[in-house]
Structures are given as structure tokens and as C-alpha cells.
């Protein structure tokens, strides 16, 4: 810590961070472009100028770039000196000299960092009368649109793509006024993190092509905090809606999970919600031989229930949906719908994580590990954001070396020059079972020097021997006084949550349906909840199983192979249309909320599966009563009655437009806004607009900060933790530890 004087007031600031970072943490509005809290400083844009005074007698001072300025005890600076303001304005004027007149047709308009900074610095009239420099654009694949004319040469894109995310196919070319950011030739971007360029770019060079197909301005979108369901990491996302349609997914900051970035699967994988294959109506089959037909009348699950029912849940469905089904059919008739091997390995993994022996780290903690062993899991494919975290962890040695030589971590370019792309001690091993003992030996040696050793493994490529090996290594490290972190990648977004409930495996389910039991125990109805069984076992096995049931009820959102076999097909709300809780791979339970008001026959899975509970809170209460392991969810997550200043939290922005016209084609009388009984969020622009509790932030906006850079206003410090309640989510395994 250091005490410095900013604009005549003394502040305690962090000496390991640079001046700009500290000023932003204190809430000063210093304009900047090239600095990024997760990527450090490079000093390319010259916008974050402040005045530094040598001592109290120095009245003249000198202009310095705050992002490249270390904090020194007793430092005196001014952020609003007239010289500094004029300097920033002139820098902005220079950057704008070649910027095209594109804002009305630019997808970044309304959430553009360049627009914000132009207003903030006060530059408004163009004096440069010569012609603008132009660039040809490239085709960068189906996700990212390239418009190079808009570039202001901040270098953030290549610093993210190459340095931070390890991409190889995007680079900077040319020099002087001709600097060009792109690929060597046209072609799809190869990195699995390319979507982040949209958020990292301060202007509209890289824009979201998927969003462009049904574009709406940021101010017009209704935003909802949600959790990505594409893998088991549970990255936080913001789902945005307009005119009742899901439009895009953006990153939602969670200082313990995904930070500022999400992978492309999370960002672009939501389009299935708008797919023509969506099941939106109840489908019925009159007899086994007839076709599955849409019906208009409303119905409930109890209309079709048989006497002996078996329910198949899904690791891809929310905890509440699975529990509602379990409650409906009874514990002994509830199946997880996963294979015996996966079931066994998942349970064993959870037992390991729950034990005090090893620690289950968050993604942020993985970034801080100094020795990593990846065992038998291709994390770049099964959990891309974990691969990104490992990439940051691999720099730990270089950062330590920099610190030794007096180069702070934030001085990014200097540290990277110093290490010459040296990667820290991390091993990636795909073991076969016979070599486990050698592996333990090798890891033991590598981990001997490390302070925060970490083993990453997973269900898809792992086996029981690996988990045993983890246990052995943990014992070995314990003797040295160290705790081993183990991070396990699970196959689906709620694999962990489901495993904490009781249930049968798919094989046991087949056996129960097989009919070798007594006649009165014979299963006549099977309910399949959001689970495409044909992806879990061979076609013959599933065909045989379903054929033996008198009635197959499927609750799902997409017309998949299982849905086609249904006798009764009920339309389930997808994750962005319903609220629920999922538990990620570290054991963090996180709540997602519905981004669109439900219309027609769509209902969330938990709503189909019960008659007694009317909203999500009642399901959660029953869940906690039956499974106390989840009690932290009830205690720590705000329920639907939660209010900020007696108001619900508004999903829409203050500037949201078209309220009196959007439905006028149907009826000129404006309808009442739809109600949301499952969350403290409102489908309206009316409601609380301040800084809500961390898990309920619908969008990032602050006066003067319309772009995603406003994220920092919601954090205790840039790249820190979310204010008002800490990082969203509740860690379930820690609570067990305390007990």
C-alpha cells in the first residue's frame, strides 16, 4: 500500500498496481483505450495522461501516462489539470482523424468505448480537412465481422488474441499510418476465444455477426444475468432480449470464474433458442402407430401420468427441474439418465472434491497456480475457459522473474519481452492406466517446488485410477505442508448438481423397464426431462427401452431423436427462458434467470413436473428440505421477494425505446408488462437502476460509460471482485468443509 495525493486529496492505493488502475478503482473517470485490467498496460494510445508533480512546491508538473506509471509513496498527481485535458483532447482528435462516419450503421454504436472517450475528452469539431486513410476488410469467419477503417491502433486485439489467449492467426501488419490488424489472408479465426475481440475492441473493428443478424442497440435490449450452460465451468453471461427474442450473449464479470472473457461456444452457442427445431407446442400421439401432432389446448403432466412411472433427469437441466421430477416420481424411480461409468466416476470425483484432502479451485485460483498437471482431459475442447486460465498460470515463473528484476506484472510488454514466451511448469499427460505409478512420481517431483500445485482432470478422458492418483499425490504433498488443488471437468453444466441428488444410472433404468419384475411393478410410463438419450447409449438399446414403455413422455426444447420417439411431447423453456440453479465443476451453485417472458405453452421443466409449487422459490425450499447440502442456495441467493429500495431490478435500460409502438400492430392499447414471479428482476424499464447485488446485475452501465468498460464500475477494483455481495455464486463444497 502507498499513500498518494490525487487532485488534492490523499488516498491509500495499491503499490503493485499502476496509477491508472488505482485511479479507476477509486472511481476517477480517466479516459483510456489500450489498458485492459486483465491484460495490463502497454502505453500505446497516450490517452490516460495525468499530471505528475515532483513535490508540493512544483506548480508546473509534467504530463505522464498513468497506465505506465508505478505508484510511489507520496506521489502528487492531478487528473483534471487544464494541460492534461487539452492533451487528451488533442490525442482523441488525432485518433478521430481517420475514423469513418459510420456510427449509425456500426454495431458498436451506443456501447462504443471510442464514443464514450470522445465525449469524455470533449473533442467535438473536426479540424483535419484532408482525406481519411482506408483499409480493405477481411473475411474472418462466420462469427466476427471485420471493419478495419474504424481502427484506432490500440493493439488490444492482438494483445488479447495472441498474448492472452495464445492465438496464432491474428496479427498486426504494416507501420505508421498503415498499421493493420488482421490475418495473413482471409479465413475464419482459429482461436476458441475470438468472440472476445468484440468486447475487447474499443470501437467497431470486430463486431458480432450472429448478433448482427437480429441486431438491436444496447439501450434497447432487455438484459438478464444468466449462466452459460455449454460446459461445466458455469461462466457468467448476460442474455439480451428484444421484441421477445434472444438477441445475444455477452460476458458477465465474475471475479472468481470467468472474469472479463467467455469462450465462443458460450457467446455464440445460444442460437438454438431461436432455432426452427424448437418445440413450442404440446405434441401428442394418438396411438403407437400414429404421428406426433401439435395440440393447442393446454394440459398438465398429470393428465398423462401412468401408475408406475420412472423419471429420467438430465445433467443438462437445472437443479430445480431435476428435483421436481425426482419429487414427482419418487427417489427410487428417478434416474440421472447417464451411463454407469459416468455416474460412478462423477460420484467418485465429487467425493474427492468434498473431502478435506484436496481443494477445488475456482478458475481465478487456477490462474494463480504455479505447477499444473493436466491428466487425460482435452480442456481446450471440454472446458475452454479453463484452458485460458491454465495459459495465464503458465506465466507464473516469468512474473516472478519480473518481480525479482523490479518489473511489475502490469507492465505487460516488458514482462513478455523478459520471458521470451517462456511457459511455466505445466504438464499435459494422457495416461494409460498402467503407467499411473510413474506419473505420480513425476508429478511429485514437479510439485515439490510449487506453492500452489494443481491437477486438472475430467470425466470424459479420466478414469478411477487418476482420481486415486490425485489422492496419493495429495497425501504426499500434505507431508510437505501443501494442499493440492484438484479441478475436475464434468461433461455437462449441471453434472455436479445432479450427482448430489439420488438417482439410478441409465443401465439400472433399462433393467427396471425391462419387465423382469413382478407384474404390479412393471413400469408403464417414462418421463424424460431435457435429455437426448440417443446421445448417451446406442440406438438399439434406447429403442428397446422406449418400446417396452406403454407411454413415453418427453419434456424438451429441441426436436431431437428422443423427442421424436415421444408419445407425449411437452415444450420446455430453454435456459434463457427459465430460471434455475446449476452447480459448476468447482461446486459453485449459480442462479440463472429467464431473459424473455414465457409465451404460449412453454413452461420450465420444474413447472411441468409439479402441481404444488408456483414459483422457483417454493421449489428451492422443498429442495433444501430434502437435500440440506443445498441449504446455502436458499440462504445466500436473493429470492423473488428481494427488493432494492422497494423496487424490482429493471432488465431494460433507462433509454429503452419503442414501448408505446412495439405492440401497436397487435393492439394500440399498451399491455401490462409481463410479470416475473421467479426472480427479483422486472421485465420493464421501471425499477431499480443502481448497483444491485452481485448476482443480479442485468447490464453494465454508468454515467459516461456506455461500453462494456463500465464493468469496472461494478467491481471493488478493476480485475477484482464484484461489489455488493462478492462474486456471484455459492460454493457448496466449502460449507461441507466447515461442517
Amino acid at each position: 500500500m502507498a499513500k498518494i495525493q490525487i487532485d488534492g486529496t490523499f488516498y491509500e492505493v495499491k503499490s503493485e498496481k499502476n496509477l491508472l488502475d488505482n485511479c479507476l478503482a477509486l472511481g476517477f473517470d480517466i479516459p483510456y483505450f489500450c489498458f485492459h485490467p486483465a491484460m495490463g498496460s502497454i502505453g500505446a494510445c497516450r490517452l490516460c495522461a495525468v499530471k505528475k508533480f515532483a513535490n508540493a512546491d512544483d506548480k508546473r508538473g509534467r504530463i505522464v501516462m498513468s497506465c505506465m506509471e508505478p505508484v510511489v509513496e507520496g506521489m502528487i498527481i492531478s487528473t483534471d489539470d487544464p494541460d492534461v485535458k487539452a492533451f487528451r483532447e488533442s490525442i482523441l482528435e488525432g485518433l478521430m482523424a481517420n475514423h469513418p462516419h459510420d456510427c449509425p450503421v456500426c454495431d458498436e454504436g451506443g456501447e462504443c468505448h471510442l464514443q464514450d472517450m470522445t465525449v469524455m475528452t470533449g473533442h467535438n469539431y473536426r479540424r483535419y480537412t484532408f482525406k481519411k486513410r482506408t483499409h480493405n476488410n477481411q473475411y474472418l469467419g462466420p462469427y466476427i465481422k471485420h471493419e478495419m477503417n474504424r481502427c484506432i491502433q490500440c493493439y488490444r486485439c492482438v494483445r488479447f488474441y495472441r498474448n492472452y489467449a495464445g492465438g496464432k492467426d491474428l496479427n498486426v501488419f504494416g507501420s505508421g499510418n498503415r498499421v493493420y490488424f488482421g490475418r495473413q489472408q482471409d479465413g475464419a479465426l482459429e482461436s476458441e476465444f475470438s468472440g472476445n475481440l468484440v468486447e475487447v475492441c474499443p470501437t467497431g473493428v470486430f463486431t458480432d455477426k450472429i448478433f448482427n443478424k437480429h441486431y438491436a442497440r444496447k439501450w434497447d435490449l432487455a438484459h438478464t444475468p444468466s449462466v452459460c450452460q455449454q460446459c461445466s465451468l458455469g461462466c457468467n453471461i448476460i442474455v439480451s432480449e428484444r421484441y421477445g427474442m434472444i438477441r445475444r450473449v455477452m460476458n458477465r464479470y465474475n471475479g472468481s470464474v470467468n472474469g472479463y472473457f467467455i469462450c465462443d461456444r458460450g457467446r455464440f452457442g445460444h442460437e438454438f433458442i431461436n432455432s426452427p427445431d424448437r418445440i413450442k407446442k404440446v405434441h401428442l400421439r394418438a396411438s403407437k402407430a400414429s404421428e406426433l401432432l401439435e395440440v393447442d389446448e393446454s394440459c398438465t403432466l398429470s393428465d398423462f401420468m401412468g401408475k408406475k412411472v420412472i423419471g429420467i433427469g438430465s445433467p443438462g437441466a437445472s437443479l430445480e427441474s431435476n428435483f421436481a421430477l425426482l419429487n414427482l416420481v419418487g427417489k427410487e424411480n428417478f434416474s440421472h439418465g447417464i451411463s454407469e461409468a459416468e455416474h460412478k466416476l462423477t460420484n467418485q470425483s465429487i467425493r474427492l472434491l468434498q473431502s478435506r484432502k484436496v481443494y477445488s479451485p475456482s478458475l481465478k485460483e487456477i490462474e494463480k497456480s504455479d505447477a499444473i498437471l493436466v491428466l487425460g482431459e482435452d480442456i481446450a475442447k471440454t472446458a475452454p475457459m479453463m484452458a485460458l486460465a491454465v495459459r495465464q498460470a503458465a506465466r507464473s515463473e516469468s512474473i516472478k522473474l519480473g518481480e525479482k528484476l523490479g518489473i511489475p506484472e502490469w507492465n505487460d510488454y516488458a514482462v513478455r519481452e523478459l520471458d521470451q514466451n517462456h511457459q511455466g511448469p505445466d504438464f499435459i499427460v494422457t495416461p494409460s492406466a498402467t503407467k499411473i505409478h510413474e506419473l505420480v512420481e513425476m508429478a511429485g517431483q514437479a510439485f515439490a517446488k510449487a506453492e500452489n500445485p494443481l491437477i486438472i482432470t475430467g470425466i470424459s478422458g479420466g478414469n478411477e485410477d487418476i482420481l486415486d492418483a490425485c489422492s496419493t499425490i495429495a497425501d504426499a504433498l500434505k507431508k510437505q505442508g501443501k494442499k493440492l488443488s484438484v479441478s475436475i471437468v464434468f461433461p455437462e453444466c449441471n453434472s455436479v448438481g445432479l450427482a448430489l441428488l439420488d438417482g439410478l444410472t441409465l443401465e439400472e433404468t433399462e433393467e427396471r423397464i425391462d419387465g423382469r419384475q413382478k407384474a404390479e411393478e412393471k413400469i408403464d410410463t417414462v418421463i424424460i426431462l431435457e435429455n437426448d438419450l440417443y446421445k448417451r447409449a446406442s440406438k438399439e438399446r434406447i429403442d428397446a427401452m422406449l418400446k417396452k414403455c406403454r407411454q413415453v413422455i418427453v419434456i424438451d426444447h429441441l426436436m431431437n431423436e428422443t423427442a421424436r420417439q415421444a408419445d407425449v411431447l411437452l415444450p420446455a423453456a430453454a435456459f434463457a427462458e427459465s430460471a434455475g440453479t446449476v452447480v459448476n465443476n468447482e461446486g459453485r451453485a449459480q442462479r440463472f434467470y429467464s431473459a424473455v417472458p414465457l409465451t404460449g405453452q412453454l413452461k420450465p421443466g420444474w413447472s411441468w413436473c409439479n402441481d404444488q409449487w408456483e414459483n422457483l422459490d417454493q421449489v428451492v425450499n422443498a429442495l433444501v428440505d430434502a437435500y440440506p447440502v443445498f441449504s446455502a442456495i436458499k440462504n445466500q441467493m436473493p429470492d423473488a421477494d428481494f427488493r432494492c429500495s422497494n423496487e424490482k431490478i429493471a432488465r431494460q435500460t433507462m433509454r429503452s425505446s419503442g414501448r408505446t409502438a412495439m405492440n401497436a400492430n397487435i393492439s394500440v392499447s399498451e399491455p401490462k408488462p409481463p410479470q416475473d414471479n421467479d426472480s427479483p428482476l422486472a421485465f420493464s424499464m421501471e425499477g431499480y437502476k443502481g448497483s444491485p447485488p452481485s448476482g443480479l446485475i442485468p447490464y453494465y452501465w454508468s454515467s459516461g460509460w456506455n461500453s462494456v468498460q463500465a464493468t469496472n464500475k461494478y467491481l471493488d477494483e478493476p480485475d477484482g471482485h464484484v461489489r455488493n455481495g462478492g462474486d456471484p455464486g455459492v460454493r457448496l463444497f466449502d460449507d461441507i468443509d466447515k461442517e
Binding site: D102, C103, V105, E147, Y243, S656, S657, A661
Partner: protein
């Protein structure tokens, strides 16, 4: 008594004043071109829709009576997929015209908008779009913008240099 006679006298005098009554609708009153009446969407000199669906009119509208959806044509040109104004809410403030960066939305001197049915006051794009340029002649946004949306090539604008050739060694 005296005041009564005085009042009758003044009333009688009005018989010789200039008449205020207008013979509307037989005789249409003069309205200046900048009168803020019915809203129209204009076309550029090439006869194509001027509106680029930037949403600024909708954002600035104090009664939120404009609603539209952006779409992109095959040439990349932006246009509104639908453009709806609820005239039963419109207060004819003209802020939409001021906000419009392309002179697409304009208020014209026509105030005859009354209707017996409010539903008839909802105007869609086909009701709003005229075939001319309205008050502002000669402006084509895509000639000023940097993007290539089928009107001019990248670097083909009046205020633009030809695109940089990255493979050339000479600046």
C-alpha cells in the same frame, strides 16, 4: 346600466373587424415548410430508402412511439425490417428528425391525422415511406460513411484515400 350598453357597443364594433374564422377545409391554411406535422420516411437521390435503422429516432422519442428492427440486405445495406410509429402517442416534437443522421425521418406540414379509431393511427413503413427526398435534397449517407454497403467501394468516398496496400513497400 351604462356598462351593459358599453358591452353591446363593443360587440357591435366586432362586426367591422377582420374575420378570424378560416374557411377550412374549403380553403387550406398556409403552413410553412418547417411546420411539424405528419412524419414521413424519405428516399435518397438514388431512390433507395434513406433510413439505416440506427435507432436514434426511437431512442430520442420522449413518448417512445417509434419502434423498428434493423436488417441487412445482401449488399450489406442496412434498412428497417419494420418501422412503426404510433401516432396516437406522437406529440410532433420533431426530436426524431433532429436525431436522424441520414435525413430519413422528416416532419411535413400535414396535420390531418385525426381518426375515429386509434388503431388506424398506427403507421407502418409502407404508410410512412414516400418516394421523394422530402425537405433535404442530394444527401446520401452511404457516400459519407466509411463502410462499403453497395453504394461506394471502400476508399471510394470523396473524403477518402484509396485503401492501403499492405503488401507495397512504399508508403
Amino acid at each position: 346600466m351604462l356598462s351593459l350598453i358599453r358591452s353591446i357597443f363593443y360587440t357591435f364594433l366586432h362586426a367591422f373587424h377582420k374575420r378570424e374564422t378560416q374557411d377550412y377545409p374549403e380553403k387550406m391554411p398556409y403552413l410553412p415548410p418547417r411546420y411539424r406535422g405528419r412524419i414521413i420516411l424519405s428516399r435518397d437521390p438514388d431512390g433507395k430508402e434513406r433510413c439505416v435503422a440506427c435507432n436514434l429516432c426511437a431512442a430520442v422519442c420522449p413518448v417512445d412511439c417509434i419502434s423498428l428492427q434493423a436488417a441487412e440486405g445482401d449488399d450489406g445495406r442496412r434498412y428497417p425490417e419494420f418501422f412503426r410509429i404510433n401516432f396516437s402517442r406522437c406529440i410532433y416534437c420533431g426530436l426524431c428528425e433532429e436525431a436522424c443522421p441520414t435525413y430519413a425521418i422528416q416532419l411535413i406540414p400535414d396535420f390531418e391525422m385525426a381518426d375515429y379509431n386509434r388503431q388506424n393511427m398506427v403507421y407502418e413503413k409502407e404508410h410512412l415511406l414516400i418516394s421523394g427526398q422530402g425537405k433535404y435534397h442530394g444527401f446520401n449517407f452511404y457516400k459519407e460513411a466509411g463502410v462499403n454497403m453497395g453504394v461506394k467501394a471502400t476508399g471510394g468516398g470523396e473524403n477518402e484515400n484509396q485503401p492501403v496496400d499492405l503488401k507495397s513497400l512504399i508508403h
